[in-house]
Symmetry: C2
Subunit: 332 residues, 2 copies
Amino acid sequence: MATIYEVSERAGVSLATVSRVINGTAKVSEKTRQRVMAAMKALNYRPNSAAQSLASNCYNSVGMLVSEVHGPFFGEMMSGVETVLRAAHKHVIIAAGHSDEQSEKEAIEFLRGRSCDALILHADAVSDQYLIDLAKEDDAFVVMNRHIDAIADQCISLDNRHGGYLATKALLEQGHRKIAYIAGPLKKTDAKERLQGHKKALREFDVAFDAALMREGDFESASGAQAMSELLKAGKKFTAVVCGNDEMACGAMNTARDAGLQLPEDLSIIGFDNVIMSRYTFPHLSTIDYPIGEMGRMAAKWVLKNIYQQDDIDIIHHFEPSLILRDSVKAK
Amino acid sequence: MATIYEVSERAGVSLATVSRVINGTAKVSEKTRQRVMAAMKALNYRPNSAAQSLASNCYNSVGMLVSEVHGPFFGEMMSGVETVLRAAHKHVIIAAGHSDEQSEKEAIEFLRGRSCDALILHADAVSDQYLIDLAKEDDAFVVMNRHIDAIADQCISLDNRHGGYLATKALLEQGHRKIAYIAGPLKKTDAKERLQGHKKALREFDVAFDAALMREGDFESASGAQAMSELLKAGKKFTAVVCGNDEMACGAMNTARDAGLQLPEDLSIIGFDNVIMSRYTFPHLSTIDYPIGEMGRMAAKWVLKNIYQQDDIDIIHHFEPSLILRDSVKAK
DNA sequence: TTGTATGCGTTATCAA
DNA sequence: TTGATAACGCATACAA
């Protein structure tokens, strides 16, 4: 592999000049610029990124932690991040935390070890304090789907509580009173907040929360199916069910139908996230829109602005959920 | 940030010795090893990865090209790759090619520019020749979902043609004769091969391929919905439809039902890929299993074996599709 | 506008 | 088992 030194020799200039044309850091006469370009092309020269990083202390790469690499939610988020960052010629390194505290910490250390210039973290198992402490050591990171007061500038979040509220309220407004709830894993902040919103809506309509009508899943389809199966078996009547996310809602719908229920006649259902699939279920799933793709793009912009000094960027830290009413909810 | 030099000073040894305990490349007495470890801990030392890479010419990172970062198929693939590679302490850098030739080439160059040690490529727009030429320059890459004879050792593929054959055969065996086909984008090899398999099955059952019953989509749900809509509007009768992948099948089912058809009574449908969602559609989608997660893990192992010299690994280059019969197919 | 010289933090080759 | 010392390939302050 050709080095910058060989290029300089062939072009008959110093290696500093070659570096200048590569980086455009200083004026170079058009004539020598051409000569250098020609030499680079002739030698099929590519800068050695390790040497660049070492000399400049800039890695041009950003680490991204997600709970899981698969799944529609994280797919949209990663896609948003990748799009913005690659347009800016920054590399995106991915790691999964699997919603386990130890695993998340390891993943974060793994990413930091690679000397990423910045981190985009969708961490749902580590404590607020851990992230606050991390920020004291090195604050080159942005947190997704989570608001932490002490590092509010580094957070891009959505009001999950309000989303949960909207979902249940939609059901209540359609006359439902016996409403089951299939929660996400309650060790996760967002799942907890969505449940809080659910309870708030119930209170507003003077409906008592019934723990017997609640089950906890893990945000994946299978757990939604399992939860619905349990709910049905328990025999306690309910006319609607709120799910912690769309994937569990799909699983739940599936089980309900296999059990012979007509949807939405016998049971109304609402999800959360508005993942692409929710448009194609039967019946079409009502849900809460979570603009995760846009938030991923925003996180990438945060990095561009705060780490790579692209000042002409406005950052939105807070996004709002909104109700998407489709066919899976029917008036009681 | 502390350097190896500061560590060596504090531990009272040379920097070479520190490097040895970091990498375990040579014998170091237990006593000095302890001293060095203590010094590293005290200084909160982390090796500078750029310096390591520069000196060792090893980056510990692997580039991964996918068509899109979102989507269930690529999610499973990326997840498989990430799992294996991170366990081996290798970083994975993602890039999307968007199934566009120019864009894919750019993405590959982008990844190469980062001096990844190896590349895992799901490229569906560049030509075979491009990849063959690339291999001549630098063969540290493995190709997914594509078999190219000239670089067969670098390919991990699935017999898409056979998969397409199995799908249509399943329908034919159930007595269907008027079978529509919603293809993936035919510029992609896999979409083309699946269609070939479809035609082969038709021939075997002496059924003529009817171009009027075919539409081309782009592998995303919306295009399946659109294609079904066109097919229905065209008015030509068909009792079953084969879809190029599960996502388009979901879109197609959706449209068919919205048009008043009973599934699977009025129309049988089969997809391809066996993505998670296919288990949760209504009716449950029959499909062709594509073990993409396993293939992603295998690609990662290929890299471990061929690039990082982990010799005790067996590589499987060829995977077989298999029929998954669920409820969306009914005998005619 | 261009060149010189130094440093970036490691690994690896020799000696000792 | 340990220590000097020379790469590794580039960016950049300083000179010219």
